[in-house]
């Protein structure tokens, strides 16, 4: 039974072909593409509105130089939200439960911000390692602590997303299998479990969207620090 629970996170292959490629590329087919006429349909309008307001909110504290990251972060946000929410449907595979994928997003983007910061204004970037107003005896320790926290950021980004989604999916599996096995013998307990499952599902939908947002928000914060 314990082996079974983690089977859902195995990267699916078919005859040796990795299906994760399809799992990554297929969701964008769900989105409407802009029509050549002037007024778009409801889906397109909503999508435009969503991406527009999201980018406006994320990039308002960042200065103009960092606005070149707008396309990247908008794409990342849409991608992560799609993968996360589609993974809540039954019998689907969520690519963002794979640590490899999330680290592949977190490390390059974080490293890009750090390298940009050290290239353009190295003193300013190094200055981030010491918060203002620290008492002098604490300075050496604090610098070490701050640099460790700087280096741990990509790990935190990747693992946060992976852990949240994996935990959510695991819980759903656990509670649903508990409810299923109790369904015939102890129906009341099973109904309680089903109620729990409903709440959990709602929570998972929220977590899926929030985790994607947090990932992109933290990246924008790292960008704001270094640009």
């Amino acid at each position: 039974m314990t082996m079974n629970l983690f089977n859902q996170f195995l990267s699916p292959t078919f005859l040796g072909l990795p299906l994760i490629a399809i799992a990554l590329m297929a969701p964008c087919l769900l989105y409407p593409s802009p029509a050549p006429w002037w007024q778009s349909n409801r889906w397109m309008t909503l999508q435009n509105w969503f991406i527009g307001s999201f980018i406006k909110q994320i990039f308002s504290p960042i200065n103009t130089k960092g606005h070149s990251w707008a396309l990247l972060l908008a794409t990342l946000m849409v991608f992560l939200i799609t993968l996360n929410t589609l993974g809540l449907l039954p019998y689907t595979f969520t690519p963002t439960t794979q640590l490899s994928l999330n680290m592949a997003f977190a490390v390059p983007l974080w490293l890009a911000t750090v390298i940009m910061g050290f290239r353009n204004s190295p003193t300013h970037a190094l200055g981030h390692l010491l918060p203002e107003g620290t008492p002098t005896p604490l300075v050496p320790i604090l610098i070490i602590i701050e640099s460790i926290s700087l280096l741990i950021r990509p790990l935190a980004l990747g693992v946060r997303l992976t852990a949240n989604l994996t935990a959510g999916h695991l819980l759903i599996q656990l509670v649903s299998s508990a409810a299923f096995s109790l369904l015939l013998s102890q129906t009341t307990a099973a109904s309680l479990a089903v109620g729990l499952l409903l709440l959990l599902t709602i929570l998972e939908i929220a977590v899926a969207m929030i985790q994607a947002y947090v990932f992109v928000l933290l990246l924008s914060l790292y960008l704001q620090e270094n640009v």
Partner: protein, 252 residues
């Protein structure tokens, strides 16, 4: 890989930046056929009709001649029964989670669907209203310009009256000026003539006085003392006679 997502993000960010126009013009070079988009056929107002949210109405219409109204529902039920009985679809824990997630989705769509659709429609309406406002503003500006032009044309017709009035004004001014000058000239001439007259009067008077003085002087000079005595005696004699006469008249 994320190219399609990038495209959709790019399209929604297309308005900003110099890349927008460039993308469109760059792809023009790849157009091989000379298709033209005008006149554009009218687009349908609503999407395809669906029953129960997913199944297109066309399936029901397709099956209606052969199986009537309940056809598609029988098809669905039969299909599900077949899958379950042959254990092609096994009911397990995922089924429960599927029921949960689908009920949440259906609840969400039923509850928030109309308001989200109204919101999207409102966004579109605002976009349309903005463009309409621009058009209306342009039109009202142009009609205003036309009215102003007509007014100017009307003003031009009244130009002749204006010129007449001005001409009259100027003529009056000239006339007044002429009369003033005439008056002045008359006055000046009269003054000069008066001066000459006064001069003549003066001359005459001087002459008269001079002559009178000379006559008097010569008369006085010509009276000898004897003549003076004789005249005085005569006067006394005349006076005595007169006195006698009056006395005589008084006593009578």
């Amino acid at each position: 890989m994320m190219s399609r997502l990038v495209i959709l993000s790019a399209n929604s960010l297309k308005g900003s930046g110099p890349f927008g126009a460039g993308l469109v013009h760059a792809s023009r070079s790849l157009h091989t056929s000379s298709q033209s988009r005008a006149p554009v056929p009218p687009l349908p107002e609503t999407g395809g009709k669906v029953r129960h949210g997913i199944f297109p109405e066309e399936i029901f219409q397709l099956l209606y001649p052969k199986t009537g109204v309940t056809g598609p529902y029988m098809l669905g039920t039969g299909l599900i029964t077949y899958l379950l009985s042959k254990e092609l679809y096994v009911i397990n824990n995922e089924t429960l989670s599927a029921i949960c997630i689908f009920s949440v989705i259906i609840y969400g769509v039923k509850k928030f669907g109309p308001s989200v659709a109204a919101f999207a429609d409102k966004l579109n309406e605002e976009k349309l209203a903005k463009a309409q406002e621009v058009k209306d503003l342009a039109m009202s500006g142009l009609t205003q310009a036309i009215e102003n032009e007509k007014k100017e044309q009307w003003r031009v017709e009244g130009r002749a009256m204006l010129f007449d009035a001005k001409r009259n004004n100027v003529a009056m001014l000239l006339e007044t000026n002429y009369r003033e000058r005439l008056h002045m000239v008359t006055n000046e001439i009269k003054r000069r003539l008066d001066y000459q007259i006064a001069l003549q009067h003066l001359n005459r008077r001087l002459e008269q006085e001079h002559m009178i003085n000379w006559v008097e002087k010569s008369v006085i000079g010509s009276i000898t003392p004897q003549q003076e005595k004789e005249s005085i005696a005569k006067c006394i004699a005349d006076l005595k006679m007169l006195a006698k006469n009056t006395q005589a008249k008084a006593t009578v």
